[in-house]
């Protein structure tokens, strides 16, 4: 195989080092931001926390009861203060997730109140559905710990067998024992946030160590247009004041709690995000802040808010695009489905959202495992999403080009009617250039039949059970008593 001898350079050669994807130009993103700043300035936003409203007034906003009108200059100050990158570490304090520059990370969801039991080789259309429990949280923690393309943990659902007021604390306590990976922890109020930060600090060794190498990000939800609940506002201020990254997630439905027009959805979400960002920056200038959401549409024909619709990816991608131009780390949603059994609908909906969230460069993507329009938690969906995330990463990686990869010399060596099977070039590159499936079938029909004619769903159940059987727990540092803190 010939290669040129010269040590030449190729000046001025610009490549797409990774896939390029853009929904909105900078001009379009700017148009959305400008209109949103006008919205905040003239219409204003309801901040239902007295403390937060007071702080905003002191900072120069116009406050009338709950209605806060934020001058553009204040919004832009907050946007400037927000760090463009946030690092989440693992439980041992090692760098784990870089939330910056279109880096995508996937993880499970947290809201479903029912659980779908899986049995090996069982008819996947007749699985038993029962309430979601704290034991299921542990299972999700273990799966997150072992799945290579899942970067962080969330509980997978909402446990119904613990005291509801303290559920999030129990969830954190369970997850942090089951996995070393970063945890995105939803909280309802400051009391829960306090307990969780205390537990995390105990594991890290001290509150200072936790603030430097955070392995948990607190997550609050805003689900009203231009309205921040007292609990959400106070948690944001609390987290920022304690040096812990905060994720503000807009859970909005277009055509219901947001306009039917997609651009309008982004505006409402951005208004919520900027207001909470300002609260965070006022609590601590430079506070780590991540925002985004789970956007879906109001399906009036079927009378529900879908978990598998293309609007989820459309709006999520658009919002990630806006945040990209604002240089704020983004939060998104993928890996949900409206399917009620394990079938091609589940496959296509999980795949579409996993792909789109990744190529849009959304930094923290939650939701894998949301089944049956979010009612049921299905852990095999998380295992499937892990595989699809790996495929998505291969796509995102793009095509590398250099003299050796262009393979002019190999093409000349092989010649027409030859083949590339035995070339050294093939032997050198085939492993690294390709995606290696662990679940997708590549077998011919006879071989596939000989192995039991398993569907992808059945193979996924088997893989999940294998992972759980082979899971090895990494114990917490000695002397940490989480039960005492959790109360």
């Amino acid at each position: 195989m010939y290669r040129t001898r010269s040590l030449y350079t190729t000046a001025g050669f610009t490549v797409n080092q990774h896939l390029f994807w853009e929904m909105l130009t900078d001009d379009q993103a700017e148009a959305i931001v400008s209109r949103t700043l006008e919205l905040l300035e003239r219409t204003g936003i309801d901040i239902l926390s007295e403390d937060a409203a007071k702080t905003l007034k002191e900072a120069g906003c116009h406050v009338d009861g709950n209605r806060v009108r934020i001058p553009t200059a204040k919004s832009e100050w907050a946007l400037r203060c927000a760090p463009s990158r946030v690092t989440l570490c693992d439980r041992n304090g090692n760098r784990a997730m870089l939330l910056e520059n279109n880096e995508a990370h996937w993880g499970p969801g947290y809201t479903a109140k029912e659980f779908m039991e899986q049995e090996q080789n069982m008819d996947t259309n007749n699985n038993k559905i029962r309430p979601f429990t704290i034991a299921d949280v542990e299972m999700y923690g273990k799966l997150c710990d072992t799945l290579p393309n899942i970067s962080f943990a969330m509980p997978g659902g909402f446990p119904t067998d613990v005291d509801e007021a303290n559920a999030e604390v129990e969830v954190f306590k369970t997850l942090v024992k089951a996995t070393r990976k970063p945890i995105v922890q939803n909280v309802k109020n400051v009391d829960q946030a306090k307990k969780i930060i205390e537990m995390a600090a105990a594991i890290a060794g001290s509150p200072e160590k936790l603030a430097i190498d955070p392995f948990v990000a607190l997550h609050v939800v805003v689900n009203e247009p231009l309205q921040i609940s007292a609990e959400a506002a106070d948690v944001v201020a609390f987290a920022a004041g304690h040096g812990l990254p905060i994720i503000v997630s807009n859970e909005l439905v277009s055509g219901f709690t947001a306009p039917a027009e997609s651009a309008g959805v982004l505006m409402v979400a951005l208004a919520n995000s900027i207001a909470t960002l300002l609260i965070a920056q006022l609590a601590c200038e430079g506070a780590s802040f991540i925002t985004g959401g789970f956007f879906t549409n109001n399906d009036t024909v079927n009378e529900l808010h879908p978990y598998g619709s293309p609007e989820i990816s459309l709006l999520g991608g658009g919002y990630a695009n806006v945040l990209r131009t604002l240089r704020i780390p983004s939060f998104g949603f993928a890996g949900g489905t409206d399917a009620k059994c394990s079938d091609a609908q589940m496959g296509l909906e999980v795949a579409l959202s996993t792909l789109c969230s990744g190529i849009s460069g959304t930094n923290v993507i939650h939701g894998a495992g949301n089944f049956e329009s979010g009612c049921v938690s299905n852990p095999t969906v998380l295992v499937l999403a892990d595989e699809i995330a790996c495929e998505t990463k291969r796509i995102m990686r793009g095509v590398e080009m250099d003299e050796d990869r262009l393979a002019r010399g190999v093409i000349e060596e092989v010649k027409p009617a030859g083949n590339y099977l035995a070339t050294k070039h093939t032997r050198y590159y085939f492993r690294s250039e390709q995606f290696w499936p662990t679940l997708m079938n590549r077998k011919r029909i006879d071989d596939w039949a000989a192995e039991g004619s398993l569907t992808l769903g059945e193979r996924t159940v088997n893989k999940m059970n294998d992972l759980l059987v082979n899971y090895e727990e990494t114990p917490l540092p000695e002397g940490v008593d989480l039960d005492k803190i959790a109360g």
Binding site: P225, N302, P310, Q345, G347, V399
Partner: protein
């Protein structure tokens, strides 16, 4: 009113920069010149020799200037039409993306019995009806080689079944030049003449080289004949990294372009100015099972890259989507259809085939076609992106609703009214026609069906109740006669 608003009217996705596209084309030109490709058709060798290529036995070394001239002269504005009316339907240019099925699978899954059997006239008829009925499908290919007729005439029978059962454009894949001649004659008859067909083509021709670098007699002859007839001809390789192409994805691009553009040169040398469509199926050789993988993410990635090259060259591109490696229509079919449909649509490839290809391209499956049609609707919704106009930046509406308020739901699009002008709007909430969004009780009451089952019901409904816009009886009879009188040729004779 403002100035200076550059907007994406749809998602923009690129694998390669323009400079990379240029580099790939140059590398292909190098391979076409240095290594050359084999032409097994003596007439093709003569055409190339006369044009100035260096001939060494059956290898044609194409000088770069000839490739570059061919890229200039080929007709780039290609429009495929309706076969009954001649209406101009598919504008294969820029980032317009149209989708359809694939040809020539040896086997098909019977939608009634689930039996995997060799494709027949009836299976092609059924497949064409399904393609005709589905709203997101833009053209037809046969989804099977007709094998219940003399095999040497399978292509004439395929064409007959397709032309009877749809008025959408047809891509016809023929055994050889003779089959192509016969199918073109039938198409000319329907169009009303040779010139009528050339001016408003409702068929597109197809030929593929054997990789690496071999233009067998049939492929070269079909290319030349198609070019001389001035009919759009697709000349694309099906190559796999590590097997019939280099193991690196960049190397696959170079190999594929070399083969496709060699066909372009042949066509332009035979008839300068003829319409040409580049493209391919670029994927990986699965190094464990040795299949040509239709579900690999590399396929989606490389073909998106090829779309960039095609846009750079301003030549229409033939892509691939809606296909899978799985043997049954399970979760994997959904996953792979979704990944390929979304990637292809966002890449702006123009004419995209193989929807309905299951079992790594061995067996066609109509359930998959119906499912892929739904996926495509979703992909189109996402690709169409978000508009940022004064109106869509809904400041007034948001102000009016106010903090904590509720917004009006999106209008459900009304069916088109005869005679009433409604602007085309692709940015509406996607109306699910097949995927299930109902509550569990509703789904269970309706039978608790999987997506495959729901798709299969739709397939049967179309087969039993849908009728395409018919050909006039006399025309259909004439086509029958032409098929009956066709003469087949044994390969290699």
């Amino acid at each position: 009113m403002r100035t200076n608003l550059r907007a994406n009217t749809a998602v923009k996705m690129n694998v390669f920069t323009e400079q990379q596209c240029q580099e790939l084309v140059f590398a292909a030109e190098e391979a076409m010149w240095l290594t050359g490709t084999e032409f097994h058709d003596p007439e093709s060798i003569e055409i190339l020799r006369k044009a100035g290529c260096t001939i060494d036995g059956i290898i044609a070394h194409i000088p770069p200037h000839i490739t570059e001239r061919a890229l200039q002269t080929c007709q780039k504005h290609i429009v495929l039409c309706n076969s009954r009316t001649g209406a101009r339907e598919l504008f294969l240019e820029g980032g317009n993306s149209y989708f359809g099925s694939g040809p020539c699978t040896p086997f098909t899954r019977n939608p009634y019995t689930e039996e995997r059997h060799r494709a027949t006239r009836e299976s092609v008829k059924w497949a064409t009806k399904v393609l005709d009925a589905l709203p997101n499908i833009d053209y037809a290919m046969s989804l099977g080689i007709v094998q219940d007729v003399p095999l040497l005439l399978s292509d004439r029978h395929e064409f007959e079944q397709m032309i009877l059962n749809t008025d959408k454009p047809i891509i016809t894949v023929c055994n050889d030049q003779y089959g192509q001649e016969d199918n073109i004659k039938m198409a000319e008859y329907i169009a009303g003449g040779e010139e009528e067909l050339r001016n408003h083509p409702f068929i597109c021709l197809y030929a593929e080289p054997i990789s690496p670098g071999v233009h067998c007699i049939e492929a070269a002859q079909k290319m030349v004949y198609g070019a001389r007839k001035g009919l759009p001809t697709i000349y694309t390789p099906c190559i796999m990294a590590g097997g019939t192409a280099p193991a690196t994805l960049a190397g696959v691009m170079v190999q594929g372009l070399c083969e496709s553009l060699s066909g372009l040169v042949l066509g332009q040398c035979a008839a300068e100015g003829s319409p040409f469509i580049m493209g391919g199926v670029y994927t990986v050789l699965d190094m464990g099972s040795t299949i040509f993988s239709y579900g690999a993410p590399e396929l989606d990635l490389m073909l998106a890259g090829l779309a960039d090259v095609a846009h750079y060259l301003k030549v229409p591109m033939f892509g691939t989507a809606g296909c899978t490696d799985t043997c049954v229509i399970d979760e994997q079919a959904g996953v792979e259809a979704a990944l390929s449909m979304a990637m292809t649509n966002m890449s702006g490839a123009n004419l995209n085939h193989d929807t309905g290809y299951a079992e790594y391209g061995t067996t066609s499956n109509l359930d998959l076609v119906v499912i892929a049609d739904e996926v495509l609707g979703m992909a189109r919704r996402i690709t169409a992106g978000i508009q940022t106009t004064e109106e869509t930046l809904s400041l007034k509406e948001i102000e009016k609703v106010g903090p904590g308020g509720r917004f009006r739901a999106a209008d459900i699009p009304e069916p088109e009214e005869e005679g009433v002008f409604e602007p085309k709007n692709s940015r509406v909430d996607y109306q699910a026609r097949l995927v299930n969004r109902g509550a569990r009780e509703i789904w269970e009451k309706a039978g608790g069906k999987t997506l495959k089952q729901a798709a299969n019901e739709k397939v049967r409904d179309i087969i039993e109740n849908h009728e395409a816009e018919p050909l006039p009886k006399a025309t259909a009879a004439k086509i029958r006669e032409m098929v009956e009188n066709a003469v087949g040729h044994m390969p290699g004779e």
